[in-house]
Symmetry: C2
């Protein structure tokens, strides 16, 4: 008997095959038993007919419960009415384990209950779909960069110093070497890497010990940082746009079923695959103020401002050329205006907020040192980073993308906790 | 003027193009200046001829030093004698930054000096090659699993409890939730995931606070864990073999230049792409003892024993069916002999040691609980893990592969510190 997965069922119509998985739902009606069967690749309806299966086997099959594990033998056929839907006429049922009292039912559960049972909640259709889209987003980003000559370069997690800020670091004891900190971004480590490999990226977990309890915050999340030698500000934004548009197209092509389950409008996503808009920080502030925001020209955007900026836009919007005071020390000054830096943030449409932050980097040793001194940084600890401006410095740029934020937008998921396998938040580290 | 990368040079013969990169080496001879130029995608010789370039430009170019950053314009042509080698006739040189006193020369440096200057050492040819092979190995593994219906599922790094052992954990304070530990393996988190997604894998950093100073140990390294529902012991080994053979073929196909730089014999690697051998633990002990080892039938293999087992074998060797006392609590007992577990280790040839550990997992709630009690584990903390055997338990198996160990074998690198960007060891966390 051939073992077949649900996703391949249409290649086995009329054959007797075996399915291995779980009961997603079950109901009986007289001589018929309808088992909604799932196996990780999808689900389908298996129909047992008492006279065909025989009394004993039929009664045994009727004992199946929600989330029991089961092997079903049967013959796949097309659904009489629905296009691209298949059913299986059951010829045998082997119960692997009968599940009793599965805790997650078809009723509403509170978020705390679901998070405590995340190991089970994962099985729900929407969580299944979210995680498959996450997989697709992950590899679409890698594919785009690999096809554009970027080399994966895993930045370290255990670091002797902080990349951005120092108040939101997880710290631990590192043997007799003093304290180590969990990385908040691999960017600084990518800069030496471009001098070997040209264009590089990392893609791993990063950590923020932020005491934020919003639906947008995790203490552990996945970030892709990319960096390219001889890449300047404009090209940096072009790479980001190319990558995001590739992600959109890949998700639409590979995940139609997942988007349907998530009730995500693929047409709306498709509209974002068009040239992105670019505003300067100043233009964006003007726009916000014209819509009633009271923010100033030296301020960062609040969530409500981001929504004012993106409302009505089908495509993401870059905001470039920021006041240097509100951006990181390593950003290159705008040669046309030394009060600004050549940074860009990319805001997703539909209120999904910032998905990328990037910039050209300061490549002058003296200007970078001046900026680091202004910020009272420990120069000794960052000497290796300064070395990049000493030994063959080049113009270079890069950006960081949050995998979860991007997956939220693709899936239309409003809470970040649903697009990562086991979310870690200030009040949550179990399971 | 078109910007071209070294890897694409052969598509631009006879055109005037621009290269952007660094000086890898330079020497002059009368009216000729030979610049070995590199840009991250490869290197080539650029030849400046004084009468063609003009006196001033030639003298300016002569000031170039090792690791200066430079843009070179010129015309690519075939090397007169060497196949698949290209040179550039220089028409212009734009110095981006002149490097003074680059610390790494062509002389021998000690490992401590090189590790302290890892951010510069990365530029050396062998390090460049190692990291490109690492990239290739990484994606060859992903490609094989993606093509075999595995879904990427990122296990958390911050965990409330230990997966294997408790003495080698990095610990930190997690807000008011008590201690958190850095993950040593994502495996336990993959087991619930298979009940949603069927087959899954993670691939991220893991951490071991081991006080080992050998050439085989890192405190932070990258591991791929894979897990499949309804996959049993034999199939588990078949998946591993298929994946490793795919990695071998991909590295040979994509990295011929890198292997040449590393003086790695591709023919020897190619020989490993043949059916892997399987020995039981008992057979392997017999083999070691017949060769003079004094190990016992209940012992794990020392490095010297592993070398006895693999000597003379061109292919990797699985060692299966281990005494349960020396393997992890979650391994399934061999139905033919309850003193053994259905675990397998995969040893690479050529003395590169263990590259994979895997097993079928215990799927019986009662047997797993018994084993956890034997090991005096905190049952409450692992209730979520036990839940997998309560709600739709299925036979399942998985394995873990160390990216660095596998890359060491592919590249022929004897010290693990050279196949990870910024190695972390007991005595090393800088840069």
């Amino acid at each position: 008997m051939k073992d077949v997965q649900v996703k391949d069922i249409k290649n086995h119509l009329g054959e007797e095959i075996r399915l291995n998985g779980w009961v997603k739902n079950i109901r009986s009606s007289g001589k018929l038993l309808f088992i909604i069967f799932r196996d990780g690749t999808g689900w389908l309806q298996a129909v047992a007919f008492k006279p065909a299966l025989g009394e004993d086997k039929f009664e045994a099959a009727k004992t199946l419960t929600l989330e029991s594990s089961v092997r079903i033998t049967g013959t796949p056929k097309k659904h009489p009415k629905q296009e691209d839907v298949y059913e299986v006429d059951v010829t045998g049922v082997e119960i692997v384990q009968l599940t009793e009292d599965y805790p997650i039912g078809n009723k509403e559960h509170g978020p705390d209950f679901l998070l405590t049972n995340r190991h089970l909640w994962l099985r729900s259709s929407k969580q299944w779909a979210n995680l498959r889209v996450r997989h697709t987003v992950y590899f679409a980003m890698c594919e785009y960069l690999n096809n554009n000559d970027f080399i994966r370069f895993d930045s370290p997690i255990l670091t002797p110093n902080a990349c951005e800020g120092t108040t939101t670091l997880f710290e631990l004891d590192y043997f007799d070497q003093g304290k180590a900190y969990l990385s908040q971004s691999g960017q600084l480590y990518l800069e030496p890497a471009i001098m070997s490999l040209g264009k590089v990226y990392d893609f791993g977990p990063v950590f923020r010990a932020e005491k934020s309890k919003t639906r947008k915050h995790l203490t552990e999340f996945w970030m892709l940082d990319a960096e390219g030698a001889y890449v300047e500000h404009k090209e940096n934004m072009q790479i980001q746009e190319g990558m995001i548009r590739h992600v959109i197209n890949t998700v639409i092509a590979k995940c139609p079923k997942e988007l349907e389950i998530l009730e995500r409008d693929a047409e709306q996503l498709k509209k974002a695959d068009a040239p992105f808009k670019i505003l300067t920080h100043r233009e964006a502030v003007d726009l916000c103020r014209s819509k009633g925001s009271e923010m100033g020209y030296g301020d960062d955007f609040a969530t409500s401002d981001e929504e004012l900026i993106t409302e009505g836009s089908d495509v993401p919007i870059f905001i470039e050329k920021w006041p240097k005071e509100i951006k990181a020390f390593y950003m290159k000054r705008d040669p046309e205006n030394p009060d600004l830096v050549l940074g860009s943030d990319l805001l997703a449409p539909e209120g999904f907020g910032e998905i990328i932050g990037g910039s050209q980097r300061e490549d002058s040793y003296d200007l970078l040192l001046e900026r680091m001194n202004d910020e009272k940084m420990d120069i000794e600890a960052y000497q290796w980073y300064l070395d990049m401006r000493k030994y063959g410095s080049v113009p270079h740029s890069g950006f960081g993308v949050g995998l979860e934020r991007l997956t939220q937008w693709m899936t239309g998921t409003r809470h970040i906790r649903e697009v990562i396998p086991f979310p870690r938040m200030i009040y949550r580290i179990y399971p």
